[in-house]
Symmetry: none
Subunit: 426 residues, 2 copies
Amino acid sequence: MKGASSGAPTVEIVTVGDELLLGETVDTNAAWLGRRLAEYGLVVVRRASVGDDRAEIQAAVGAAVAAADVVIVTGGLGPTPDDMTKEAVCARFGLALTMDESLLAGLRERFRRRGYGEMPETNRRQAEVPESARVLPNPVGTAPGLVLEPDGRAVILLPGVPRELRGLMEPQVRDYLRGRFRERLAPVHHRLLRTTGLAESALADRIAAAIPREVGPVALAFLPDLTGVDLRLTVRGVTDPAEATEHLDRVARLLTPVVGSYCYAEGDQDLSAVVGELLRARGMTLAAAESCTGGLIAKRITDIPGSSDYFMGGVVAYANEVKVTELGVDPSLIASAGAVSEEVARAMASAARRRFGADMAVAVTGIAGPGGGTRDKPVGTVWYAVATGESVTARHERFLGDREEIRIRAAQAALALLWLNLRERR
Amino acid sequence: MKGASSGAPTVEIVTVGDELLLGETVDTNAAWLGRRLAEYGLVVVRRASVGDDRAEIQAAVGAAVAAADVVIVTGGLGPTPDDMTKEAVCARFGLALTMDESLLAGLRERFRRRGYGEMPETNRRQAEVPESARVLPNPVGTAPGLVLEPDGRAVILLPGVPRELRGLMEPQVRDYLRGRFRERLAPVHHRLLRTTGLAESALADRIAAAIPREVGPVALAFLPDLTGVDLRLTVRGVTDPAEATEHLDRVARLLTPVVGSYCYAEGDQDLSAVVGELLRARGMTLAAAESCTGGLIAKRITDIPGSSDYFMGGVVAYANEVKVTELGVDPSLIASAGAVSEEVARAMASAARRRFGADMAVAVTGIAGPGGGTRDKPVGTVWYAVATGESVTARHERFLGDREEIRIRAAQAALALLWLNLRERR
């Protein structure tokens, strides 16, 4: 088995839930866990998913314990009768469940704090813990994490709700794993270069022409999504963080001239956070005027804590008359050039900047579909503009994909134009 | 095991690829396969993911063949050396690989047709097929699907590229499964009742008090997320669709009085789509004024195709001065009651309705955090209001969670208030 051969501790992830097998839920926890565990220096050797079925859960966990040093079981810790992970696993290892009065008090308190009044009796089960288990308090939910150590293995039970899973993994599970496996850990060091505006294949060609695919211990992976392509640099088998950082720096320096004008962040920062930092650094304020993106740009900007420091607000001018009444766009302009045009995009940006008394404004007008396309302006046609005190810059694209994809791509392109403008200011 | 007990053929899905274990790829194939197989009438009892490792692949497929009637293996059929699924599985079952000359000719032809010139030698392997295997031509890629039948089981090898996987599943794999298991197929019938505004445990208590957890062949599951709790009714082992529908109708009728005022949809419709349909049916238009949700409500409303028929637009009044300048909220109101107050929420809703000339408007003002909370108005305090020609209704909540969760919950609560108002109109 990989784990054994590499010496690093091995992990099997077992996810529980009928909805996973029925395909009603895409298992995003598994990918998140895989990345994190690799970063800690453990090796995920298997993943298994089973339904809300006692025998299936016990069979999967039994097989996992035989195959890996650590078994992480997610899902089925909720308060409802179809949540049976804890009971099934404890029965499998002959561990009795006892009521943890302090947990129970915490649960009751949580319900009162939330204004739900008395805790429903259904939730009592969530306060029962296996004998000799390590209890990990859940900062954002009602089901605690549980660490069992049957036969010297580690079996870790976590809720399936992604936010709760993540809130329990870090720092609690991470620190437990580091404490327990310290000398055996073989951390994987990553760096993310986030790019937007260039297709994966074009990016790959440029990079292939400039640098080898493996530079020393650094491997390069392309992770494309609707907002762009992330370049992931990975160093394996280098235990000294400083040495790993050197390797990553060297390759990042090689890549910068190649991807520079498309690379908006190192690390997992969102483009809207990068734009926000630049606005803050420049002491500038921003407004938005959106048609086809329908509020998505404002939403992404205000996803960022503290965005009220630089974001004044925005208008979603969805109906054409609103572009006129709210933004004072000249109706004859809409009549002559059409609502989806360079002229209207520019007018929307300038108007939004004035209306909100902001230093800059971003505007988008386009056809997200599925209806509304014409021969000259097919679905996906989007004009976007950035207005400043000095000038207005406009661009257009024909984005492919369905309504949602087009809206996501359009919002990202508009934010990227904003970023390019801000980056050039000193 | 579920499958055996229900009599329907059981399936284990084995996905192969280091990128899955490292979390570089989210396994969307598994969810798609799960939905499709349930619709065909098979029961997925397990899913396993292993890396590009011969021993791991063989162990997983061996275990799967022992546990299920059908094993679907995806991934690792590509031309590169780390693609070893076919070789590993054939070795596991002692099947020799032989070159399929017509497949090989097809591959060479494909490369020429696409203008790639001569086929790289690395692709030759993709034309090797196991003895006695059924070969499924790949309409969109180079790796054919393969059906093996060792020991009377069905082992189906498919490429991991989603487009290729789907192109091979339907019609080819579907028809093979239907032909082979016809009389044993037991389609799963679902109905989703979507609720919002009531915690999972509270919902469970109400339902437990009203109806048994299993009504005849109908099983009930709770699927909670940040926007509410979905109730999933599932009928298994009923082949006649009409009979299944009767069962589902009966349970839905039992549930309606219990969850009625929280249940906004049957099926997987989003609340914003339900609101949109009601607006359309009532011939009414809508506007939005958002503070802490920062455009999320407008974004969700405009996620729906055709929303331009009823959505006029919205204002994201993020800075207080914008609430005054854009919405004409009385600054003394903000000074006296505070920006997050019933008074300001009502004023924002009324102003938005006037400004956009809409029949209704929804408004939200709150503290999404992490900063900005006070003792009287802690983070999570949200006031929201709906204004109509007749009246303005306002509600407030204290939502727990991080910034994102508070914003998602606040937008959903505001849409729910809109829905309740629209539902009562005739």
